[in-house]
Symmetry: C2
Subunit: 690 residues, 2 copies
């Protein structure tokens, strides 16, 4: 990232007039700025329609409704896990692609959940009232309890999902009410080879030639859901210079973080995560190399690992950029100087940064046990996750809703149960490999003499323990999971399943370190970030956007290339380029379907394109729409410079990367014979540039 | 590393009176300081005897002569590669240990070379004269040419090895003349399980319970070499508080590096190396898990990878220590201020730091091609190394000695030939795995569109290429290597061996990036480091020690624990502790021989101990001797705080870790029945504390 020092200053300043920066909330969209720059007026009705036509996939992606019959468009990589879970050694839909020729052939994804944001309510005053005068553990407990309470009141049925969302780092609290869809079925997916053409080498790069799409359908009462709001299809698609909107759910940014928090990321968390992921990548690479079935069962995990590795490395590089980091330091100093000029503000806010800095030192000291014992790095296994969920629900569900760990609040339980009772296959070999790996790392990180490590390992080796646990547990049986869940604490305590026993044995240690983190560190961060947010409002006003929180946001921008090493990058590629880049070898091997259809294709069809919209991970699968609210593309990536977007937006370089709407139609029709989908999309086609 | 800001200042100051700091050259040992602190006078005769009783293992370790018949003591891990090369699927000496019951059973190691330092001559004036007035490429070329010339004049036969050594970053040039031994045979090695008891988890930690020893013997004319100088054996061994000397070859330190160079390490080189090693570690971990033979053939590489990973991580952490780094910055600023006070000095030296800083920026920009195309990271394969050596020797040897790449100068050729014609086994599976891995990284680091990458990969995948190269090459045949070497350029150019062809194809790119590095970056670093070294001498005098350069050094110190998290660490462990730590599972599994002998052992025998001697990687295998020049221990590691020793010495925490001489005798006798060795050691036993 080559941000000028001006960038970070802009982030804290009140006006971002010239850059298409910002992941704006739906209730604070800068329509005036858009009108001023692009001459287009985004009315409330327009915004509501876009919001209601957009979806969030609860597992971490975005999507859109593209027909009145519940047809959903998202990325292939957002449905990759589902496609893999529906596959087996005989029929590998990841490799071959999938197309349901009739509605009957549409198959349910084991663990997909789609959310449609129906309402946003400001609950800041209510949360503030509950927090008044509190600090430390009391502050944190009260905050979580009040959030769970509000969510429970709102979530009147399992079809309703309610999340209290903290915006501007506890500056504002909004209640997001969603319609929840848990019956999500797979309609179409191309071959992985074209969905992720170029693989890891081309990931986060542009020019690009990917058909990273899948179509799903949401069902209600075993029938396709009737969806009033959906996006029509643009006849032209994206053109250079077009105004473009992205509606999606950026996962998280740290643009308002303090310098101490950024230093913690740069010097502690990011290097540690990168090293763990790199080692896991090496392990999985060799695992996949053992044979085709090993490759098939490990490919989603390897894909996710490589994607995280590359993404986090980009963030890390941006924080190592001296000019960029200096700009962050300068902006914080300027802000603090302003605070300190006013004695009242200084008294109220002046110490917030130092308090956070101290919390970061504490966090550094407990990071390893926190991450390895509680946050999963020491027990990387689906079966262990299931066991832990059973142990925790047996402890938590008997408690009053607001006293529980947040992830077991009533409002969260539909998602917990969906995961817990999923019929998705679990593979012994992969489970043993990842569990042995993570237990080895647990020992490495905490040391062989750590009491928790001794409790887990005893005198056995990580590999022996992983093998006996995975071979010995019965938790692959969904019925047993249901019985243990319904039997509650008594059943779980009585279980002699070895994985349950391990989860029970380590739970006190995991809870203790989490409690320490939440009571003594997280509470300090939150309380003081809230102070900083308030000070920010007082000094700079409220005309800015909050950090991303995996909630609905709109960004605006235009189809636009950039200058790389002095050379302009054309913002639009064509299908011809995919054939030029084809080597016939993974990850640059076009699938047979493409090679066979080549002569039928219009090779001049736009394939991928880039825009200067401000997005981040979580935006994958977001619709890219024009001012008519018509689909012109499907967001699936950012360029390499977008990775620093975690900490700041560089308008000169940061680009969103999308599949062009025309490529989707061309491929669906001429390569996949998926006319059923085209008709469903086209029957709703927009009227074009009105 | 928790160094106080005072530490780095000390490094540049002229006196290190209170700390047992320093890796001293034999011709500048601070005998007066030792006498002042410990009351012992190290005479020239004493120093000469210690130097001549010490050995360097050219592959990267230290060792010592311990009998008049050429018996050599070093670490197991220094002979690990030899032990593995002498093993096969049927007889695995790494696992079982090795003991030659008679001289006849002593087996030649394929690629070990031992060097005895017989003479040190100052050649500074001669080198300076050759460099006078030169800069950039001319400076670098002249420096290398003059060094090669001096070495060639000195190396009158293959039994003589001569290296011009740059000390104090080109502040002083010394000619080191060695007696070279290439016939080195294996006499004894214990099982890997006890040599590296505790494995990676305990590596760089203390308390410790390792028998990290091997005995070798140097031969001349097919008979054990008669060695006038050798260390006697101390009857008592090391005791808490004893004065202790370490004579060995610390590989390299960066204590005199500029802040810009340290920043380059912290922000660029170390993270990149760590990530590559972590990924390789993961790959090799799974590779070893495929089966016992996979494990056997990959264990030395995994061992080396984990050792580097942990070592470099420690360095990285020391540079991330804010107080320590700030002390480096402050020391440099203080030094520069002194320079700038004197207009003449300012004119001569003032710009050296900025010139180096600029070179570091350039280095960052070319690091990837340099490391991946030229320095081996992109072609990790023994067969490729052989091919590259053949291609390069065919190009270099016809040139005049002083015009060649340094590693093909006449003085270096005996070592080159030993490696090239080694009969050590090469394993296809491992070769394919590491070559495919490194080709994949090459593509990742340079990008799939890089011309050199395209040249190497064409349309094939890294795995396909690695497989066809390893399966297709004939270079496992030592006779073919000899024929190609002797046939010179004509034979190499005519070869249709695919590995030779690859090495030939990529050589121009590799040479080009190396030339750029040497002409434009390395030369700037060297020239300006020389200026800084001169300024350092002018301001602080010459009573300091130079950075380590894998040449003979002596350090002094005492047997001494430290305070870890407020608790004292006892400096000596016992054999009983090894049995307490035994879990029966790798890497905490004592071998059967130990379990069987337990009742015979005196469990109170000291096992390992630590001292505050200043050492670093390369010192492995160094003798630890008392003031009588008697063996009291065998250096094999440092504690975790020693890893920051790359950049500075912290006397409070940095500790050397050694096997106790008593444990060696106890184990050789009662566990291994190696009385032949004990007699050879004991017949020369010292007279004790005179």
């Amino acid at each position: 990232m080559k941000a000028s020092p001006a960038i970070a200053a802009l982030i804290l300043a009140s006006s971002i007039a010239h850059a298409d920066e910002g992941m704006w909330t739906y209730n604070n969209f800068p329509s005036d700025k858009v009108k001023q720059k692009y001459g287009f007026e985004s009315t409330q009705q327009w915004l509501d329609h876009v919001r209601l036509s957009s979806l969030r996939l609860a597992q971490g992606c975005s999507a859109s409704l593209v027909s009145p019959n519940g047809l959903v468009m998202t990325n292939h990589h957002c449905a990759h896990q589902c496609i893999e879970q529906l596959s087996n050694a005989q029929k590998d839909y990841v490799a071959s692609g999938f197309f349901a020729r009739t509605e009957k052939e549409e198959v349910k994804c084991p663990v997909l959940e789609a959310n449609q944001l129906t309402q946003i309510t400001d609950v800041t005053d209510r949360v503030r009232a509950a927090l008044k005068g509190l600090e430390g553990k009391q502050y944190n407990d009260a905050l979580k309890a009040e959030m769970s309470k509000i969510e429970k009141e709102c979530a009147t049925s399992d079809d309703v999902r309610c999340d209290v969302v903290s915006l501007y780092h506890n500056g504002i609290f909004n209640l997001y009410k969603y319609r929840r869809f848990q019956d999500v079925r797979l309609v179409f997916a191309p071959e992985f080879a074209i969905a992720f053409f170029g693989g890891d080498p081309d990931n986060f790069n542009f020019p690009r030639y990917d058909l990273d799409v899948s179509f799903l359908r949401i069902y209600e009462g075993d029938r396709p859901a009737k969806t009033e709001h959906y996006f029509k299809w643009s006849p032209e698609g994206a053109r250079d210079g077009d105004l473009a909107f992205v509606s999606g759910n950026p996962g998280g940014t740290s643009r308002l973080n303090t310098v101490a928090q950024l230093e913690y990321q740069r010097d502690v968390a990011l290097p540690a995560n990168l090293l763990r992921l790199a080692e896991l990548r090496g392990l999985l690479t060799d695992f996949a190399d053992r044979g085709p079935e090993f490759k098939r069962i490990s490919s989603p995990l390897l894909f996710g690992t490589e994607n995280s590795l590359k993404g986090l490395f980009g963030r890390y590089q941006s924080l190592l950029d001296k000019a960029f980091f200096a700009s962050k330091v300068a902006a914080e100093q300027a802000f603090r100087s302003k605070i300190n000029l006013d004695p009242a503000k200084k008294r109220t806010y002046g110490s917030a940064w130092d308090a956070i800095a101290k919390a970061e030192v504490d966090l550094k000291n407990i990071r390893r046990p926190l991450v390895y014992l509680e946050q999963g790095a020491g027990f990387q296994s689906q079966l262990f996750s299931i066991a832990k969920t059973l142990v925790r629900t047996s402890e938590e569900l008997p408690k009053p809703n607001e006293k529980r760990l947040r992830e077991y609040a009533d409002s969260a339980m539909p998602a917990v149960k969906q995961r817990l009772f999923s019929s998705a296959p679990i593979y012994d070999d992969l489970e043993i490999a990842t569990l042995a790996f993570s237990l080895t790392k647990l020992r490495e990180m905490l040391g062989p003499d750590d009491p928790a490590v001794r409790k887990v390992l005893g005198k056995d080796s990580p590999k022996e323990i992983a093998t006996s646990l995975v071979k010995g547990t019965q938790l692959k049986d969904v019925k047993l999971r249901k019985a243990l869940f319904e039997g509650g604490k008594k059943a779980v305590d009585a279980s002699n399943d070895p994985m349950i026993q391990l989860a029970r044995k380590i739970d006190p240690d995991a809870r203790a370190i989490r409690k320490h983190y939440e009571d003594d560190i997280e509470s300090v961060e939150k309380k003081n970030q809230e102070l900083i947010a308030k000070a920010n409002f007082e000094i700079y006003g409220t005309s800015n956007y909050p950090d991303a929180t995996f909630t609905a946001r709109v960004s605006y921008g235009q189809v636009k290339g950039w200058i790389e090493n002095g050379k302009p990058v054309n913002p639009i590629t064509t299908m011809a380029g995919a054939f030029e880049r084809n080597t016939g070898r993974e990850p640059f091997a076009l699938p047979a379907s493409w090679l066979a259809a080549k002569s039928k294709l219009n090779l001049g069809t736009p394939m991928n394109f880039c825009t200067d919209n401000d997005i981040i991970g979580g935006n994958s699968g977001s619709p890219m729409v024009n001012k008519n609210g018509e689909i012109i593309g499907l967001v699936f990536d950012g360029n390499i410079h977008s990775l620093g977007g975690e900490y700041g937006f560089d308008p000169a370089l940061n680009r969103t990367v999308a599949v062009h709407s025309a490529a989707l139609i061309e491929a669906l029709g001429k390569i996949y014979g998926a006319n059923r989908i085209i008709e469903e999309l086209r029957s709703q086609q927009g009227s074009g540039g009105k």
